[in-house]
Each structure stands twice: as structure tokens, then as C-alpha cells.
């Protein structure tokens, strides 16, 4: 059972207690070529996650047993696997709480199947660059194909999403990215103005890469517009 042949699209763990919705999700995922497994209880979620080793987790916020926030933290504690929250509440406090517990993205019920698939694909998108590519941003070195970020010789542990944001900014250090552009390029959204997603993740990314997250120098906020890569700091100019 643990040795299920990997589907070509990827494996999705659906954690949702509503059996009809879970079944419907399975059907939709299958028609799109994904392999999936359903878990109906928060308490079993972590166990199923370890057994199934999915490429993406679809996680309902309201679960019997452990709720979605706890499950999200537990999974994030041991893996950088992309997590997409399914939530019936669009209140900022719920959304931000979900994102801060480690979810990469969230989708508000009721959603269209196409929308869901687009989000999952965006999370699963591998960087096609086969040639080794090295970027630098601030005093960080990014190995794009190797999916690693180093400061001096220390590797920084970033989730794939945070890595994507950083690469996106580093590829065009001269450009100021609006939140909308980032949403489109990193999250795969089209026409969305939900900047909470960007704000929360920027905050998390900064707490990992900035020496002083209060005064960011690598990812700089351009007030009223968005974000850009910081100018190469004076540190690297020193002999």
C-alpha cells in the first residue's frame, strides 16, 4: 500500500470530514490525473500524511478531532510539502491564522473545480530550468535547480513557496513586484486582489532570510506598490 505507483501528476492528501465533498474532490482530482487519498479526521491526518507522502495536502480548517490549524502546524513541523487550506470562512482573522500556521495557499468554499486544480498545479509546478542556474539576492546565494538558498555557507530552510517568491524577486532585481503580479507568478492566481496572502508569506520569508526582520534589506517594501529585491548591501562590497 505504501508503495503505490506515483501518478504522473502527483499525489494529493485530502483532509476533510465531509464525505460527499471528499468523494467529489476525489472524482475531480482523478479526472485531472491526480492520485488522492481521503482522511476524515484531524487526529489521523498526520499518520496518513506520513504513510501516503503526498505532493500536496488539501486541508479543511474545520475538522473533528484536531482542527485544521493544528494539523497544518504538525505537518509543517516535519515537512515543507505545499498545503492548501479549504475554508468556509473568508474573515481575515481565519485566513491569516491559517496562513500563519504554515499553509501556502487557501481557497474559499464554494470554489470551482478549475480554480482548485489551478492552485494545486501552481503549488506542484517544478522549475523547468534543467541547466544549473545560480542567482543572488542581498547576501544570499540561490541554487535554482538544486532548490537551496545559502547565506555564506549556511543553508536556509525555505518552503517551496518561499523559495519561489525569492527566486521571482531575484530573477528581476530591478523590478518592483506588485502584490497582484506576485499572486499571479507565484500562486498562479488570475485577477485576484487578496493581498493578505502575499503579506503573510512575505513576513514569514523575511523572518527566515533577513538578519533583522524589522528592517528588511533583502526583500524591500516599496510603499503603496509592492516589493523588490534590496540593493546589494554594503557588506558584500567590503574586502
Amino acid at each position: 500500500m505504501t508503495d503505490t505507483p506515483r501518478s504522473q501528476r502527483g499525489r494529493v492528501l485530502v483532509v476533510d470530514d465531509d464525505s460527499s465533498l471528499a468523494e467529489m474532490l476525489t472524482i475531480v482530482l482523478r479526472t485531472e490525473g491526480f492520485d488522492s487519498r481521503v482522511c476524515g479526521d484531524g487526529d489521523d491526518a498526520l499518520q496518513d500524511f506520513r504513510a501516503y507522502r503526498p505532493d500536496v495536502v488539501l486541508l479543511d480548517l474545520m475538522l473533528p478531532g484536531q482542527d485544521g490549524i493544528d494539523v497544518c502546524r504538525a505537518i509543517r513541523g516535519e515537512s515543507t510539502v505545499p498545503i492548501v487550506m479549504l475554508t468556509a470562512k473568508n474573515d481575515t482573522i481565519d485566513v491569516v491564522l491559517g496562513l500563519e500556521s504554515g499553509a501556502d495557499d487557501y481557497i474559499v468554499k464554494p470554489f470551482k473545480p478549475k480554480e482548485l486544480i489551478a492552485r494545486i498545479r501552481a503549488r506542484l509546478r517544478k522549475h523547468e530550468s534543467s541547466a544549473p542556474e545560480e542567482l543572488s539576492i542581498g547576501d544570499l546565494r540561490i541554487d535554482v535547480s538544486g532548490h537551496t538558498v545559502h547565506r555564506d555557507d549556511v543553508e536556509l530552510a525555505l518552503t517551496p513557496l518561499e523559495f519561489d517568491i525569492l527566486v521571482c524577486l531575484a530573477r528581476r532585481p530591478w523590478q518592483v513586484f506588485t502584490r497582484e503580479v506576485l499572486l499571479e507568478q507565484v500562486w498562479g492566481y488570475r485577477h485576484a486582489a487578496d493581498t493578505r496572502l502575499v503579506n503573510v508569506h512575505m513576513q514569514r520569508l523575511r523572518s527566515k532570510i533577513e538578519c533583522d526582520p524589522e528592517n528588511p534589506t533583502i526583500v524591500v517594501t516599496v510603499r503603496g506598490i509592492g516589493y523588490k529585491a534590496g540593493v546589494v548591501s554594503a557588506r558584500s562590497d567590503l574586502p
Binding site: A88, P110, K112, P113, K114, H191, G224
Partner: protein, 546 residues
């Protein structure tokens, strides 16, 4: 270097504010001012009466003594037969010596003799002085008095200051004068008694001191009494104010202390009763709105999960509709379309319930209205094309930035644009924005059937439709414009509508640049510039909110 002028102005400003804001300070200051005036008036009257009394007594005593002296001098002169004029001087000196006081009464008065002068002649200067060697006769005897004495017989008197030469001093004095005639020679002399008023002056000055001290003390005591008395009233009033402020700030459990049964205690009692009632009603309302919001949120939440399943199932059917027969295919299409409507209705209802429960929160960040207009135009292009309409952007070069919630701003603009497209009768929809002072504005203009008079206020009503029968065929939840208006007002802004039959309509969103900034400018007029130049048949009546 300090600026004394500025400091004084500042002080007077502080006083001014204190007087205006503190009853106690005002009462104390008024008491001080009024009691000072009263004390001064009282002191003046007392001093005046005492002065008159003292001087009158002195005056009558002095006049008696002087008249007796004049009589005795005249009779003395009459009885002596002076033959030789040279004896005249000696005789007069002896007379003065006899009449002048001696020993311990030496300072009681002085006698001064001026003359001789010819009878009936008024002299310009003092001549021939005898007696009182320590007096300066020229400056002592007032010319007016001298003239009176010379001109007519009888006793004349006047109060004046007397100048002493040794030692040099001046004293207020009563000067009494009369004419002496020497029958033998026919020479006339003026004789003056000078009574110093030193004693009276001392008495009066002591009295004045005492009065001033007493008045000052009285004024201070009255001020203190006023302060104490007003404090009795003001303290509970201040306490009531503090408590009322706290209650107003939301600390509904605050109460006043009730002590005794006086007016203040009754005020406290009534205040507490009022606070109690308010607290109960507010609690009830809070509870009610919380329960209501909670219920709507729960309902909406419970609906969302099955709706997601239905939605996905409908989508699956819709995708595969080509495999069905015609009627099943149509059913799948209808299912899909109506689910869209159902979904937006659910979203809008939840949003309205948030507004009603007062739990809608703003998340502010800088928003450029031009960017919002472009985003919405991009997103609505599809709808516009389906309606045969076209979105035209007329945006300025300058940014129209405001501190706002971008999701709400997008929603407002979107609702306005969708409304304009749906009622625009296949004409273009024009978006404009501008900023001026601390205000930014955005207008959405359509060239549809327009609004009739009175409808410009009604369009924002929930589920309002101009023509119920027609509007049913249109999409939209009927809540879009109400939500847009609530959103605008949540920002401290305004949403208003203009329209005329056959002229189309214009909706204008006005927002402050910063939270709390006043809406004191009009970057864009509500009535469009091309109003009146458009002509359309007015057969179609405009629908309601999208």
C-alpha cells in the same frame, strides 16, 4: 532671551481657558472681584465719614481758639496808644509772644503776622513777617487766603500744607486768618493761626491701614469660602462627568457613589439608573447582533460545504454536457448559471450581515484608484463583451492614492461597473478618477435608460429594483450597490448617484485620502459634463442594483 509679551499672552490664555472650563475658578474669581469692589466702597465711605468727623471737630476747636486770639489781639491793640510808629513793631512782637503757646503746648499752633499794608489795598506778595520763625511764610500762606483777609474783615480759614524751614518738612494744617487794624497809625496787619493737623493725619492713616488690612483679609476669606462652597457642588459634578465619560467610552459598569439624600445624591441615583438601563439595552443589542451574525455566519458556513460539492458536481456535468441530450444539456447549463447566482447571493448576504452586526473590519494600505479601475476593467471585460458594451478608462496621469482596504475598493468599483454594464443598454461605460486636496473620487458613467427623479437615492436600497418584472431576467443579487455604499461609508467616504431619464446615470465614489480626513473637496462633479447632450428614448425603465 525670553519674550515677555508672548509669555503674558500665554498666561492670559491659560487663565482664560481655566475660567471658561472650571466653574470653581470662575466663582472664586467673581467672588474675589466683587468683594474687592464692595470692600473698597465700604472703606472709602468709612474713611470719608471719619475724616469729616475728625476734621470738623478740629476745625471748630481751632476756629474758636483763633477767633478768641483775634479778639484779644484787636482789643489789646485798641487799648494801647501807640504814638511813635517805631513802637508799633515792638508792640506787635510782644502781642504775638503773649498769644503764642508756650512750653509743652508749643507745637499746638503757630501765630504769623503779615503787614503792614494800606487799608483796602491787596498786596501781591507777603511782606513784613513776624512770629513763627521756623515757617516759610511765602509758601505757607495761600495767596487766595491772604487776599481774602486783606480784602475784608472777619475770620477766614483754609486747609493747606505748611512748609517748615528748620527742620525742613511739610504738614497739612488748618490756617485761620483775620485782619488787625492799628487805629493810631491806620496800618493794617494780617494775623494767621496755623494749626498743624499732624495728629489727625496720623489717626486717619492708622485707620486707613486698618481698613485696608481688614478688607484684604475679608476678600481673601470670601474667596476661600467661595472656593469651599463651590467645591461642595463641583466635586460631585466632576465625579459625575468622569463617570459619564467612562460610560461613554464603553465602560458600562461604572457607577456613581450615592451619599446622603441631597440633590447631588439624587442626581447620582438618576445617573446610575440611566447607566443601568443603557447598559442593559446595549448588552441586549450586542447579544442580539452577535447571535444574529453568528447565526448568519453559521448558516453560510454550513451551506458552503454542500454548495461546494454541488458546484463541483454541476461543473462536471457542465463539462460533459455534449454527451447529453438537448434538454439534459440545457438543465446542466441552467444548473451551472444559477449556482453562480446562488453563490454570489450567499456571499453578499454574509457581507451584509457583517455590516449589520458591525463586525466589518478595514485593512488599510495605500490604494491607487487608477490601479483599481484598471484591475476591475480587466476583470469585467468579459461581462462587458457579453452585454455588447465596452469599458472606457479616462484616468489621470497623477496617482489617486488613498489609505483604504483594497479588497473593498475593488468590490465597490466592480459592483458599480457591473451595474453600469447591466443597465448601460449596450453603450460604453466610462471610468474616471481624480484627486483634490485630501479627497479622491471615482465615477462610473453609463449611457443607459438613466434614473428617474427620486430613484438616485433608492438605487442603494437592498433588493431594490425599478421594475420588478423586468429586473428578474437580469443577473445580480440586488445587494451589490448596498454593499458598495456600506463599503464606502466604512471608509468614511460617500457613494452617490446621478441620473436622468434617457441621459444615462453616473455613480460617484468619494473617499478621504487618509482615515478621518474631511470630505471637503469635490474632485469630480456628480453630474457629468455631458449631461443633457445625450438623447435616448426613455421607453426602457432602468433596473436596480446588480
Amino acid at each position: 532671551m525670553a519674550r515677555p509679551g508672548a509669555r503674558r499672552r500665554e498666561n492670559s490664555l491659560v487663565d482664560h481657558v481655566l475660567l471658561r472650563t472650571s466653574i470653581q475658578a470662575r466663582v472664586v474669581v467673581f467672588t474675589l472681584v466683587l468683594s474687592t469692589v464692595v470692600a473698597m466702597l465700604f472703606g472709602w465711605v468709612v474713611l470719608r465719614q471719619v475724616t469729616t468727623g475728625v476734621l470738623d471737630a478740629k476745625q471748630s476747636a481751632s476756629l474758636n481758639q483763633a477767633e478768641a486770639g483775634f479778639d484779644s489781639a484787636q482789643s489789646n491793640l485798641d487799648s494801647t496808644d501807640i504814638v511813635d510808629p517805631s513802637d508799633e513793631g515792638r508792640e506787635l512782637s510782644a502781642l504775638i509772644d503773649v498769644l503764642s503757646p508756650h512750653d509743652q503746648f508749643r507745637d499746638d499752633f503757630r501765630i504769623l503776622l503779615l503787614g503792614p499794608f494800606a487799608a483796602g489795598q491787596v498786596s501781591e506778595t507777603v511782606r513784613g513777617v513776624r512770629g513763627a520763625p521756623d515757617l516759610d511764610p511765602v509758601r505757607t500762606i495761600p495767596t487766595a487766603l491772604l487776599h481774602q483777609v486783606e480784602a475784608a474783615p472777619g475770620t477766614w480759614w483754609q486747609f493747606s500744607r505748611v512748609i517748615y524751614t528748620s527742620p525742613l518738612k511739610s504738614e497739612p494744617s488748618l490756617i485761620v486768618g483775620s485782619r488787625l487794624t492799628i487805629n493810631v497809625t491806620g496800618n493794617e496787619y494780617a494775623m494767621f493761626y496755623v494749626f498743624p493737623l499732624t495728629e489727625q493725619q496720623q489717626t486717619l492713616s492708622v485707620l486707613r491701614q486698618a481698613l485696608i488690612t481688614a478688607a484684604a483679609l475679608l476678600v481673601l476669606l470670601l474667596g476661600l469660602i467661595a472656593w469651599l462652597v463651590t467645591r461642595q457642588v463641583v466635586t460631585p459634578v466632576r465625579m459625575a462627568r468622569r463617570i459619564a465619560e467612562r460610560v461613554a467610552a464603553g465602560r458600562l459598569e461604572e457607577r456613581m457613589q450615592v451619599r446622603g439624600r441631597d440633590d447631588i445624591a439624587r442626581l447620582s441615583g438618576s445617573f446610575n439608573q440611566m447607566a443601568q438601563t443603557l447598559q442593559r439595552q446595549i448588552r441586549e443589542l450586542e447579544e442580539l447582533s452577535r447571535v444574529q451574525h453568528r447565526f448568519v455566519a453559521d448558516v453560510s458556513h454550513e451551506l458552503r460545504t454542500p454548495l461546494t460539492t454541488v458546484r463541483m458536481a454541476a461543473d462536471l456535468l457542465h463539462e460533459n454536457r455534449d454527451q447529453f441530450d438537448a434538454s439534459t444539456r440545457r438543465a446542466a447549463e441552467l444548473l451551472q448559471n444559477e449556482l453562480d447566482r446562488f453563490e454570489s447571493l450567499l456571499t453578499d448576504l454574509l457581507e451584509i450581515s457583517r455590516f449589520d452586526a458591525g463586525v466589518a473590519v478595514l485593512e488599510l494600505e495605500p490604494v491607487d484608484l487608477r490601479a483599481a479601475a484598471r484591475r476591475v476593467a480587466d476583470r469585467c471585460r468579459g461581462i462587458a463583451e457579453r452585454h455588447g458594451s465596452e469599458i472606457v478608462l479616462r484616468l489621470p496621469d497623477r496617482p489617486c492614492t488613498t489609505e483604504a482596504d483594497p479588497r473593498r475598493i475593488d468590490r465597490i468599483v466592480r459592483n458599480l461597473v457591473v451595474n453600469a454594464i447591466e443597465h448601460g443598454m449596450e453603450e460604453r461605460v466610462v471610468l474616471t478618477c481624480a484627486s483634490k486636496g485630501s479627497v479622491v473620487a471615482l465615477t462610473v458613467r453609463d449611457y443607459g435608460a438613466g434614473l428617474t427623479q427620486g430613484q438616485d437615492a433608492l438605487v442603494f436600497g437592498r433588493f431594490w429594483r425599478a421594475d420588478r418584472a423586468r429586473a428578474r431576467t437580469r443577473g445580480g443579487t440586488g445587494l451589490g450597490l448596498s454593499i458598495a455604499k456600506e463599503d464606502a461609508e466604512l471608509h468614511g467616504g460617500r457613494l452617490d448617484a446621478w441620473g436622468a431619464p434617457g441621459q444615462g446615470s453616473q455613480f460617484r465614489l468619494t473617499l478621504p485620502r487618509f482615515p478621518g480626513a474631511p470630505l471637503d473637496d469635490d474632485p469630480l462633479p456628480l453630474k457629468p459634463g455631458d449631461a443633457g447632450r445625450v438623447r435616448r428614448p426613455t421607453t426602457a425603465v432602468r433596473g436596480g442594483a446588480p
